[in-house]
């Protein structure tokens, strides 16, 4: 699950790119090139999101019911932005699309900003907590408050998460990270001098705020109280600097986390300062996957409640109380054995389509363009 989450954040570079379609390009044909470079990749991000949802459902159904049914608006707005994304690539340049290309690009922009930002906000609640209660015995209640197991206690249903500065800082960090990754992707993929030059500048413009917001979130979280779980009594309690001690207790996670961060920074800095360097996306991308994966591990491993309730500690979700049965998890484990096959054909397809860089010329000859 953590790995899927990491992949998802990396693939959000598509959203990042969408958020700067207008600012990065100066001419219509440049815009078209950007749309097409991203348009050949958006389905991977989308599919990963869908799979992430399905796998979360299968592995942690209580998270599914508590978070989705509770933080209703946070998720609904996120999903809306993805609904409009899916059609925007296909529709925007087609005649008869009613609303005009500009409208669809606006939707892509919104998806780019909202999709990444809200995802960051929601992930931050894995550390900051949300206002919900869980009572599995509720289902045996007839009448009265009804049999609902997971109850969100804030009537804003997820919008209240935006009032937490730490949530916001991770949201902004993810937004700027995705824009940074998109810039690196363009540097790597496009056969277009002006755009490449501008993309390098954008790497810097977005890389700096990303690092700042991420550091705010990271340092604050490491020093803040965390939601610890007593492994014997199953009681959840607040512990000072819980997430810092998680890193210290799990040195491998810490080492990998630091390596991931360094790899991201290397990708960014080398792209900015070395004009011949084009492989930044691979360093930053792999670094993102590793870093985010480790962050998820810190949220849930080492006797930690990964989806904490800030108003009723004992309602917090832990890996044990919210996961599927052993049987279902082993089914899922067997299913995961096929993931390498999937990765292999994705790799093949990516190679087949990306053997050469994308230029304006290709849009005319590849037979299909957005």
């Amino acid at each position: 699950m953590s790995l899927l989450g990491g992949l998802l954040v990396f693939l959000m570079f598509v959203q990042g790119g969408q958020s700067m379609l207008n600012s990065l390009s100066k001419k219509e044909d440049e815009k078209k090139l950007l749309v097409n470079a991203l348009g050949r990749k958006w389905e991977y991000t989308f599919t990963t999101l869908v799979t992430f949802g399905g796998a979360f459902f299968a592995s942690f159904p209580l998270f599914y019911s508590t978070s989705f049914g509770g933080a209703y608006w946070a998720w609904m707005i996120l999903l809306f932005s993805f609904v409009v994304q899916a059609v925007s690539y296909e529709f925007q340049s087609k005649p008869g699309n009613i609303f005009g290309a500009g409208a669809y690009r606006m939707l892509l922009f919104l998806n780019g900003v909202i999709g990444t930002f809200l995802l960051g906000v929601v992930v931050a609640t894995f550390f900051t907590g949300s206002e919900f209660t869980v009572g599995k015995a509720n289902i045996a209640v007839l009448g009265g408050s009804g049999p609902v197991i997971s109850q969100w206690q804030n009537p804003l249903h997820g919008l209240e998460l935006l009032a937490n500065v730490r949530n916001l800082s991770l949201g902004l960090a993810v937004l700027f990270l995705s824009r940074t990754l998109a810039s690196l992707f363009f540097v790597n993929r496009l056969d277009h001098k002006d755009l490449e030059k501008r993309s390098r500048r954008f790497t810097l413009y977005n890389g700096v705020p990303f690092v700042l917001f991420f550091l705010v979130f990271l340092i604050w979280t490491l020093l803040a109280e965390g939601y610890a779980l007593n492994p014997v009594t199953k009681v959840v309690y607040l512990e000072k600097m819980k997430y810092l001690s998680n890193f210290i207790d799990m040195p491998i996670v810490m080492v990998l986390f630091i390596m991931g961060v360094v790899s991201v920074l290397y990708g960014i800095f080398n792209t900015v300062f070395n004009l011949k360097f084009k492989k930044g996306i691979w360093f930053a991308g792999a670094g993102t996957v590793v870093t985010v994966t480790m962050l998820f591990l810190v949220a849930g491993y080492n006797n930690t409640a990964y989806y904490p309730s800030s108003i009723d500690l004992q309602s917090s979700l832990t890996l044990q109380n919210s996961s599927s049965s052993e049987f279902t998890l082993s089914v899922m484990a067997i299913v995961s054995l096929f993931v390498p096959v999937v990765v292999a054909y994705i790799f093949y397809a990516w190679r087949a389509l990306e053997r050469k860089k994308l230029s304006l010329e290709d849009l005319k000859t590849d037979g299909n363009s957005y």
Binding site: V50, T51, Y64, F68, Y72, F82, N97, A137, S150, I346
Partner: protein, 529 residues
């Protein structure tokens, strides 16, 4: 109840929209894969041009199918949170498998299909087109496994400790006979939609005397696909009727408007329900008129012309003999057993809590006593679990779905289905006689038949989903116990947002398609790049 109904409306809305696009994806997917196969085999560029035209239409339609699909998956969490926990252990797995096996296959090979004409070999491209179709079909399979499980829960066991149903037999879930049959019936209906769409559009070209060669090529492939599809729909429809009578007798009774059960029951061919019928047991004749095929319902449902088919009244009041020889329980009896199950679940939970507290305070005698009590509750709970969901219902009428909606949907669907068998047969005959391009009456009929295939598909889902009310999971969980704790205002707002958004997108999609169709397949000269 208010929230529940709006959540149902929202699910119906999004699922209904989704099902406007998915069948065309699967159906056209097959047709264009066949066309490209012919191109690769013969090397005839005309087939390539035809393939590419349909791929363009496919692409427009695919995007919006994806857009409407993502909401469905997450809605289980957002609007049906109780459901998500109560059966997520079983229900989540097919969804995850769908993502891993099917969606990635579709997403990966679709990009080769669209952008790879000059970047991969001919054979690799053909394989990609087929894999897109296979991926779409696999995705349909797994989501229908999930749906079938709700209609016929299998391979699970209730765990009172975690308060949920847990999977104990993956194969019983994945290869449930209901899932298998549902998959075939639904997939063939998608082929049918794709075929009638392609036939209708080709006929329009014939009417306009444009792209005649392309149109005839498409007609040959798609009318064959269509005939196979609708004949198989009749065959698998028979399988569905059999399973519904075995697993969901109330749905069958509603489909047929059958209030009083009987032996050797006939199948209503045409009928009109009596609006004066107000209650299931008011002795008013449910039909204004009906034309019946004698004994057919018993034969279809029970493979025996004299079998007893229970009506709505029988199912509510009980007392008839079930196939296994036992006497059917009345609603009151099942409700009482369901309430007992629910109560013992609460007692069990309380006893376990007591046990834990006793252990923590070191009182081992009290802990042992509580453990014994919990074990006893568990036994009673298991004895009555088959009726668990009935405990949430208030009265016998709650068991009855909307009869007119189910009845008319079912019959109209069947009529359209048989119409299409005849339709494709006639088209093939005209193609064989080489007179299709001059039979303008048939071209008009073909064009105006496109909406019929969509209507039939939607009606099929109405029968399946309205007919199973009040259950989200047959006999285990009624809809009102499955929803999230969000106030109706929230759900109404998202409902309206979805309705506006999807309608806007649908309108845009249709106008884009019409433009593309008017433009027609590209000329061969510009194809050779």
């Amino acid at each position: 109840m208010f929230t529940v109904n709006w959540s149902r409306a929202q699910f119906a809305l999004t699922a209904g929209y989704h099902w406007l696009f998915v069948p065309l994806t699967i159906g056209l997917g097959l047709i264009m894969a066949i066309m490209e196969s012919i191109y690769v085999k013969t090397g005839d560029e005309k087939w390539k041009s035809a393939t590419r035209f349909w791929q363009k239409i496919f692409g427009i339609n695919f995007a919006i199918g994806v857009a409407t699909g993502i909401i469905l998956e997450f809605q289980f969490g957002t609007n049906w949170s109780n459901y998500s926990w109560f059966v997520g252990d079983i229900f989540g797995a097919p969804l995850a498998i769908e993502g891993i096996f099917a969606f990635f296959m579709e997403a990966t090979f679709i990009s080769i299909m669209f952008f790879g004409w000059n970047r991969v070999s001919k054979k690799m491209h053909l394989a990609s087109t087929w894999l897109v179709f296979i991926g779409a079909s696999l995705s349909a399979y797994w989501i229908l496994v999930a749906n079938a499980w709700m209609q016929y829960p299998a391979g699970m066991e209730f765990n009172p400790e975690t308060v949920r149903n847990e999977m104990v037999d993956f194969w019983a879930v994945a290869f449930s006979p209901v899932a298998y049959n549902k998959f075939l019936h639904t997939t063939f209906s998608a082929w049918g939609v794709g075929a009638s769409f392609a036939v209708g559009i080709s006929s329009w070209y014939l009417l306009k005397k444009r792209h005649v060669d392309f149109a005839i090529k498409t007609l040959k492939i798609s009318s064959l696909v269509g005939l196979v599809a609708f004949v198989m729909l009749a065959v698998t429809g028979d399988g569905s009727a059999y399973q519904v009578s075995q697993k969901q007798p109330m749905k069958l009774a509603a489909m047929e408007g059958l209030y009083e059960g009987k032996s050797g029951a006939g199948l209503v061919a045409i009928g009109m329900l009596n609006p004066a019928k107000k209650a299931y047991n008011d002795d008013v004749n449910p039909y204004v008129f009906k034309l019946e095929i004698p004994k057919l319902l018993s034969l279809l449902g029970y493979r025996n012309i004299n079998a007893f088919v229970p009506g709505i009244k029988d199912i509510v009041d009980g007392g008839y003999i079930l196939q296994d020889g036992t006497v059917a329980l009345s609603f009151e009896e099942r409700q009482a057993r369901g309430r007992k199950a629910i109560q013992t679940l609460a007692d069990y939970q309380a006893a376990r809590k007591e046990e834990n507290e006793a252990i923590n305070s070191g009182n081992s005698a009290a802990a042992a006593a509580a453990a014994v009590a919990a074990a006893n509750y568990e036994t009673v709970l298991r004895e009555n679990y088959a009726h668990f969901g009935y405990g949430y219902l208030e009265k016998g009428e709650d068991l009855i779905p909307n009869v007119p909606l189910t009845f008319y949907s079912f019959h109209l669907m069947v009529v359209i289905g048989f119409y299409f068998i005849l339709f494709f047969f006639v088209i093939l005959y005209y193609l064989y006689r080489k007179s299709m391009s001059t039979a303008s009456w048939l071209q008009y009929v073909a064009l105006w038949s496109i909406p019929l295939s969509y209507i039939a598909g939607q009606l099929g889902w109405v029968v399946a989903e309205v007919g199973r009310q009040p259950w989200t999971i047959q006999d285990i969980l009624p809809v009102q116990s499955a929803a999230s704790a969000v106030s109706p205002g929230n759900v109404i707002t998202t409902f309206i947002l979805f309705a506006v958004l999807f309608t806007g997108l649908l309108v845009a999609e249709v106008t884009i398609m019409i433009k593309q169709i008017k433009k027609g397949p590209d000329k061969l000269v510009s194809k050779n790049n």
